[in-house]
């Protein structure tokens, strides 16, 4: 069992290591913190911490480095819950208030968080599952192609191209639009998909192929909206912290681009909606992201929750970053609810 003073030592080690990037020795701890005891005593505490797998020595007779488990204890019990500065708060509000639309807002959020934390920022687009269909639009693009646009009541828009194989007159088009909206408008996305089953049967045989292509496109749009999307910024920050990833950035950059893995990890963090959650190093199973921590808080938009967070090396300033993620996610929720 680790004593209170042991935990204080752990806190000191995490703080100093995050700052200096170098293994922390017993002497430097007594120099920088007021423990009122000698290095030898600290060494005894460190031996206990090492037994508990909270810290580790990279090699015999070097200082100690926190393990993932050590960071976990730090995050859960030892990190001071900081709040961001007034200037930072103002910067957040100013920057986000300037956004033009939904897309722009989430991209700005991502950029802002990358700048505040100097890490890679990740913002999840909310699912549209609970959103309602505001309107379905069909537009003639070229002779034999239609564009199908789905507008949700929270402002999100998605589109799909439809190949008709033949011309569609304006009159026929407005018929499709009228019916499709009759079926789907006002319903939630998940309902809309069901409601459109058999859509094509309400049209004369000649129009059925196009009608079923339309209902397929809408189904596809709805399905695509279940798989979430991400806005990512600040990849350049990774080179600053390159050594922390033991020089191998490839899997991290790859994860950022592929997004699938990031999405999965973000979802796993979503349990506790009110707190900023952290997944540290090897806690998430991804071997390529073994040196990375993911931190995320949730925000809500139109009844749907989504995550906003950062990706960085396990050796990061958890206190400051949690405060930033917290502040940004709260303000984002507030903005989307107004």
């Amino acid at each position: 069992m680790v004593s209170q003073r042991g935990l204080d030592v752990l806190r000191a080690i995490v703080q100093d290591y995050v700052e200096s990037r170098e293994p922390v020795g017993s002497k430097s701890i007594v120099d920088r913190h007021n423990f009122g005891v000698s290095p030898a005593t600290i060494r005894n505490e460190m031996a206990l911490l090492e037994e508990e797998n909270l810290i580790v020595a990279p090699h015999t007779s070097s200082g100690r480095v926190p393990t993932d488990k050590g960071y976990r204890i730090f995050v859960d019990h030892l990190a001071d819950t900081r709040t961001i500065s007034g200037a930072q708060r103002q910067a957040i509000e100013k920057f986000l208030d300037e956004s033009h639309d939904y897309d722009d807002l989430l991209q700005r959020t991502s950029r802002l968080l990358a700048q505040l934390t100097r890490q890679v920022a990740v913002v999840e687009y909310p699912s549209l599952g609970g959103a309602k269909v505001q309107r379905i639009e069909l537009v003639n693009i070229s002779n034999d192609r239609l564009l199908c646009i789905l507008i949700a009541d929270n402002g999100r828009i998605d589109q799909r191209m439809i190949e008709c194989g033949r011309d569609v007159s304006e009159g026929e088009l407005s018929e499709y639009i009228l019916r499709a909206n009759g079926f789907a408008a006002g319903r939630s996305l998940s309902e809309a998909q069901g409601a459109l089953a058999g859509f094509e049967n309400h049209f004369p045989p000649g129009a059925q192929p196009v009608a079923s292509a339309i209902s397929a496109a809408i189904a596809d749009l709805v399905a695509a909206n279940r798989t979430h999307k991400l806005a990512v910024s600040g990849a350049a920050n990774l080179v600053r912290t390159e050594e922390d990833f033991s020089g191998n950035l490839y899997p991290v950059l790859d994860a950022i681009e592929e997004q699938v893995v990031l999405l999965k990890l973000m979802c796993e963090l979503a349990e506790d909606a009110n707190q900023v959650a952290v997944s540290i190093g090897s806690e998430h199973g991804e071997s390529g992201l073994r040196g990375a921590s993911l931190m995320a808080g949730s925000y809500s938009s139109g009844g749907e929750n989504a995550m906003v967070g950062i990706l960085g090396p396990t050796r990061m300033d958890y206190s400051a970053n949690m405060a930033a993620v917290q502040a940004v996610s709260r303000y984002l929720s507030k903005l989307l609810h107004s």
Copy 2:
């Protein structure tokens, strides 16, 4: 003046250096290429090439490395104009034919090119300047917010949120829609902007604030479409070639994220529409991208030209990459014209 054999030596140096990543010596040249002369003769040629600033020796008594100027001669006169393999061609066609819509197509193009060249791929969205307004839609999002959607006849869609400050009834809304389309539909974007001047004067005083907000949003959309957008993929490929950037990826990743610089450079490459153009190392003024080459070809969509290309270290396989960029840009044009 450099002799024909001198140029052959330059070609050999570029090819070998690109492959081996190591300065090329006179002996290895005679070993790998059939010059039928001794290393000493090659050394004499190399001395001349060095005088012309086409190659340089990193230090006394090491092999030679091409300079940016050397790469330039190589690209302009010496590179064999390769064509891609049948399998690659099929892969391109298969992958791009599967795209759902405009956005998806350009993103797929970017991914594809990144995979083919193993570099960072950049695809410029075409300007909408010449495109026509297909329709303008206004949608009530919440009580006091409207979403303004601009649909162009080439399938591109953009949106802006409008804060009205008061409720807008459905009747009033359809009035706005009717008029806005009356003014703008069927016109090119640039015309539409002019046509909407004084739009609000056609409404009763009570409706004028909202009307002018709408026309401002449309003007904003048109303006935003003049500043182009990029789809970028394959950033992870940079770590593979990290040493080529003398270990400093920051400015490169930064340029990728900021996009402004990339856009500028792409535009500068646009002069010759039919050929793949290359900007090598310090040729473009950006100090952060001194170790990078940008290669781009143009494609056309709805009368507008835009660029598709790659960003990589100056030490890249120009022949193969030019073939890939060429093939992808041609196929993209073809797909967009059908």
